[in-house]
């Protein structure tokens, strides 16, 4: 159904029809797969890189200018590229790694390449929020660096880290939709091929609804978790 032939309301109503959802539902599961797998990679690598950034910084526990500068520069390089360009740049990398430059798994590679640097920076700024006095106290007790990192810095900043991850997942979702137009499949693919190329605006509406719902859900889960922890610690 196109907006050029039908009224907005009619198209909107039709976007809830079984016919439309028969096409959208498989796309949702495809999108969920890409978002889920990418988010796990982003979580793991982003945390690792973020921790390294904080530890090696000048005020960090193991200052190391060389590592800090090089890592920071690489992260900045990736972050200065628009997501579309990262997707294009990563196509040959994806072909080398998973054998083809289209499809869900290829898409995951560009998602990870674009979102890990972003999340690493978010992790860095979360960890830097910690009150330096707590680290001093742990040092004064004779705690080692790794122990301070994992038993003080990470737990103390956990609510903020959860918020950071929530933001990262939301960006992964929007990027998944973008990657859809580069042959990754999923919601983005439906939106571009049917909504844009073939004027099937009911399908376009359905994808919009799905994206809004998914992002809201992620945001609510993240916010709630972070709030529960803050409440438990009586910090709000």
């Amino acid at each position: 159904m196109s907006l050029y032939k039908y009224s907005f309301f009619e198209v909107l109503m039709h976007s809830f029809s079984a016919e439309v959802w028969a096409q959208v539902l498989p796309a949702i599961s495809e999108t969920m797969y890409m978002v889920g797998v990418s988010s796990i990679f982003v979580l793991v690598f982003g945390i690792i890189l973020g921790l390294v950034l904080v530890m090696t910084s000048k005020e960090g526990l193991v200052p190391c200018k060389v590592i800090h500068t090089i890592l920071g520069a690489i992260i900045n390089c990736f972050r200065s590229l628009p997501q579309v360009i990262i997707i294009i740049v990563m196509l040959p990398v994806a072909r080398a790694l998973v054998g083809k430059s289209y499809g869900s798994n290829a898409c995951i590679i560009s998602l990870v390449a674009s979102c890990v640097p972003l999340f690493a920076r978010l992790v860095e700024s979360s960890l830097l929020e910690i009150d330096k006095g707590k680290i001093e106290a742990a040092k004064a007790m004779g705690s080692g660096n790794m122990r301070i990192l994992f038993t003080i810095m990470v737990p103390e900043t956990l609510p903020s880290l959860i918020r950071a991850f929530t933001n990262a997942v939301v960006i992964v979702i929007s990027m998944t939709a973008l990657a859809g137009s580069f042959g990754a499949g999923g919601i983005g693919y439906i939106a571009v091929t049917y909504g844009y190329t073939r004027f099937q605006h009911d399908l376009l509406f359905a994808t919009i609804i799905v994206l809004i719902v998914i992002v809201q859900a992620v945001q609510i889960v993240g916010d709630t978790l972070s709030k529960i922890i803050l409440k438990k610690r009586h910090l709000i």
């Binding site: 009150d131 006095g133 707590k134 001093e136 106290a137 742990a138 040092k139 004064a140 007790m141 004779g142 705690s143 080692g144 122990r147 038993t151 003080i152 737990p155 103390e156 956990l158 438990k232 610690r233 009586h234 910090l235």
Partner: protein
Amino acid sequence: MDEKFIEISKLYKSFYNKKQKIEVLKGIDLSVEKGEIYGIVGFSGAGKSTLVRCINRLEEPDSGMVKIGAQEITSLGKAALNEQRRKIGMIFQQFNLFDSMTVEKNIAYPLKLTGVTGKEADARVEEMLNLVGLTEKKNAYPGELSGGQKQRVGIARALANRPDVLLSDEATSALDPQTTLSVLDLLKEINQKLGLTIILITHELEVIKYTCHRMAVMEDGKLLEQGLVEDIFSHPQCETARNFIRVYNQFRNDYQKEEVR
């Protein structure tokens, strides 16, 4: 009580601010006897915190020596320093409790470092809670405690490993007068009960008068005067000490006048 327990000699420390050198400690000599409460008073910026942080090397001195008992702190390697730090308790103005842990876990944290676990750790935590009078707050988070209660947890945490020395950097400066008194009473009590040596940094002379046996007056990176608290109060030698005592007496007189009215 005549034994040099903590010995500091010729301690120097500078910070560099945009290539500009700021000398903060300019040759500190100090000795503290076992079991005494030693107060160091000075105006803001005198270098008190830097001095006390050099004792457990949270700040690395440029030169000079710090010795506790027979152990020279300034010559220790990284691992040995961590080992030694477990025998030096420290409390802070901002308490620095871990918000992610309950009171119990906060106190047990240093115990994990020395390998005290299980029933033994539980018993030690219980003992410390008793000592600071917070048994019923065992499962509370620091976020639900008052300032005075937080500092008590800080003290319990600092004492959990039965240290020989307690360093206190403005531990009562964030507390109201009444809570300050009760925390100072607690410090005096543990000093008596456990024979703990305490170095107490403050910019409030009344804290020293109330708590300490001996004291030093610090200004501009140097210790201007050292001696028994009552001697310095009755015969202050240096200008800074006289200033401090004048202000102290003025406050007290005004306060007494208020009370009479």
